[in-house]
């Protein structure tokens, strides 16, 4: 991945008294698949609309390819958007939809025809030239919206929850399709979603946002395995978040038991939050566990069983391929490597991690 292509510097935006973005700083590198992930109202769509030019920030600058484009209208920016619910032009044919941007730029007809063919092939909809937009299914409309954007050869493609209106199976197919498209076209994707699975599947970089603040930026693996705060841990996948105390380096106490971990540098006797993923909790015979508990719930989820275990006053969420019936006494063990230690929020910025789902 290359240089910084888009640089958001100190972006703030509010609607009336409601602060949507507060001093947001973020850069997007060339050829990156970057996902803005967060619950509704976290400011992810506003961020995208500011990049696209549909909103003006109250404060801050948008730098694109070294050039300040903060005040440039959308039609002067070298990027294209795929909108939520497709936003196709229903009075035009599919071919006219795709040709729209090229006709505005007065490209020759032969070039436009070639581009339409190429784009329809790319999104697997050859032969749809003369259909009307509303005769297409949701998934087809979405692919036309993508085709309409990419024929303009933008440097960046902005996608605003483009898969939100599709059903599960189609959404998964489209995820692979988008990854393929990105690799074939070699352009930068900025993707907005509230679906963590979508984000983990497709992104090079995930930006987790909440209440107008960036919570964490990192690769999907990093975000999943090493969440920086309780919000990220809770929003990305399921987790057990337990308050505890860091006794010393590599030793943490929670639920009245001491666990070995691999984290260092938190100081001695510091209050912390401990995050353990449900698939990392090991259930063993009671005497072999560090703490003991009783299975209270059991659900079969297909790939694994999901159990809840009451132990030392905390309801543990556990995922395992091995089933422990409800009522069984079990021991709980966690590999030191799978215990993730996080600082308790201190400043006001970090307070904004409350889960609003």
């Amino acid at each position: 991945m290359g240089n910084k292509l888009i640089d958001l510097q100190g972006i703030s935006k509010s609607y009336g008294k409601h602060m949507v973005l507060d001093d947001l700083n973020l850069y997007i590198r060339e050829n990156e698949f970057l996902t803005l992930l967060g619950p509704s109202g976290c400011g992810k769509t506003t961020t995208l609309r500011i990049i696209g030019g549909f909103e003006k920030p109250d404060k801050g600058r948008v730098v694109f390819d070294g050039q300040d484009i903060t005040n440039l209208p959308p039609n002067k920016r070298h990027l294209n958007t795929v909108f939520q619910k497709y936003a196709l032009f229903t009075h035009l044919t599919i071919a006219e939809n795709i040709a729209f941007g090229l006709k505005i730029k007065n490209k020759p007809k032969a070039y436009i025809d070639d581009k339409i063919k190429y784009a329809l092939k790319l999104v697997n909809l050859d032969g749809f030239e003369n259909r009307m937009a509303d005769s297409l299914s949701g998934g087809q409309q979405q692919r036309i919206a993508i085709a309409r954007a990419i024929v303009n050869e933008p440097k960046v493609l902005l996608l605003d929850e483009p898969l939100g209106a599709l059903d599960l199976k189609l959404r998964q197919d489209m995820q692979y399709e988008l990854i393929r498209l990105k690799n074939e076209l070699g352009i930068t994707f900025v993707f907005v979603t509230h679906d963590q699975e979508e984000a983990l599947t497709m992104s090079d970089t995930i930006v987790v946002m909440n209440q107008g603040y960036i919570q964490q930026v990192g690769t999907p693996e990093k975000i999943y395995n090493e969440p920086e705060n309780a919000f990220v841990a809770d929003f990305i996948g399921d987790s057990n978040i337990i308050p505890g105390t860091m006794i010393e380096d590599e030793l943490v106490e929670f639920l009245n038991a001491k666990f070995k971990c691999v984290d260092k540098g938190f100081g001695n006797n510091t209050p912390v939050d401990v995050v353990i993923r449900p698939e990392d909790v090991e259930l063993v015979a009671p005497e072999k566990g560090i703490i003991q508990g009783t299975v209270t719930h059991l659900i079969f989820k297909g790939v694994h069983y999901e159990m809840e275990v009451m132990a030392n006053g905390f309801e543990w969420l556990v995922q395992s391929t091995k089933m422990w019936p409800v009522g069984t006494k079990v021991g709980i063990k966690v590999d030191p490597f799978n215990i993730q230690i996080m600082n308790k929020p201190e400043s006001e910025d970090e307070e904004a991690v409350g889960v609003d789902e």
């Binding site: 039609n75 909108f83 196709l88 032009f89 729209f100």
Partner: protein, 276 residues
């Protein structure tokens, strides 16, 4: 299924009776009177009467004034509807309300008010005289009639256009901008084509009453400028129902022509909503 259809048909029956009693039967009467003479014998004289200069000149003037007032209404209403659409929701409702407010007042009263304003030594005349402007007297001219038509029928142009415009998804307009279209390109290539259905109903709702009015021309035309509506009115008053019906049938042809030309895109109104 069949049962529901029957049940629904039952609910529709009062409207069918209404349509038959007040639209179809009167229309048949007009056709009957139009093609008969006083004695009830078949004749084409009432239709052919339009060839007389006093009648076809009135019809021509009516057509010209109706076209002019429709165009003026469209040019005024479209930008207004567009501005309304882009306002925030609470303001939209208020302005639409303000716009409909005059319709709460009697149509005749409003037209008489314009007479008082435009009259020689009327409100406008006296006001302009204070600035040393005299001789601006349009009362009893075609201009005054057009002004009256535009004033009375403008809301009928604004509302259908506004209704279609508010249904256009913001992101459809954003998409056009995103693809490089400037304001005017977005307007002419996207917004206007998507609001054709509203424009069509607006045109019908302004053109038809403008073409057939006799009240506005009576009050603001001083009774000297006869539109086809005035002539039909005079014939009814003179108890010549046959001629009145014959001229009405001729007038109806122009109304149908207008509706065919502007109404063939009606189906678009459904599509405007976009992605279902």
């Amino acid at each position: 299924m069949n049962k529901t259809v029957k049940k629904n048909a039952l609910f529709a029956s009062p409207y069918i009776v209404w349509i038959a009693a007040f639209i179809i039967i009167p229309l048949l009467f007009i056709v009957y009177y139009g093609f008969t003479d006083r004695a009830g014998n078949f004749t084409l004289e009432n239709i052919k009467a339009i060839a007389r200069p006093e009648y076809y000149e009135a019809l021509a003037l009516s057509l010209i004034l109706a076209v002019i007032s429709t165009i003026i209404c469209l040019l005024l209403a479209y930008p207004l509807a567009l501005i309304l659409r882009n306002m925030n929701m609470s303001k939209q409702g208020f302005i639409v309300f303000i716009f409909i407010l005059p319709m709460w007042m009697n149509f005749l009263l409003r037209t008489y008010a314009w007479q008082a304003i435009l009259d020689i030594n009327g409100v406008l005349d006296v006001f302009l005289a204070k600035f040393g402007i005299t001789g601006f007297n349009i009362i009893n001219t075609p201009a005054a009639i057009v002004l009256g038509m535009v004033y009375d029928y403008l809301p009928f142009m604004v509302l259908p256009i506004y209704n279609v415009l508010v249904k256009i998804d913001d992101n459809v307009i954003n998409a056009a901008r995103d693809l490089g279209a400037n304001f005017w390109q977005t307007l002419f290539k996207i917004i206007i084509p998507l609001s054709k259905a509203g424009i069509a109903s607006g045109i019908i709702m302004v053109f038809v009453p403008s073409l057939t009015t006799f009240v506005i021309s009576d009050i603001l035309g001083g009774g000297k400028l006869l539109l086809i509506g005035n002539i039909v009115e005079n014939k009814v008053k003179a108890d010549n129902l046959n001629l009145a019906a014959g001229l009405s049938l001729v007038l109806m042809i122009f109304i149908v022509i207008n509706m065919v030309f502007s109404g063939n895109d009606e189906s678009d109104s459904v599509k405007v909503k976009g992605g279902k």
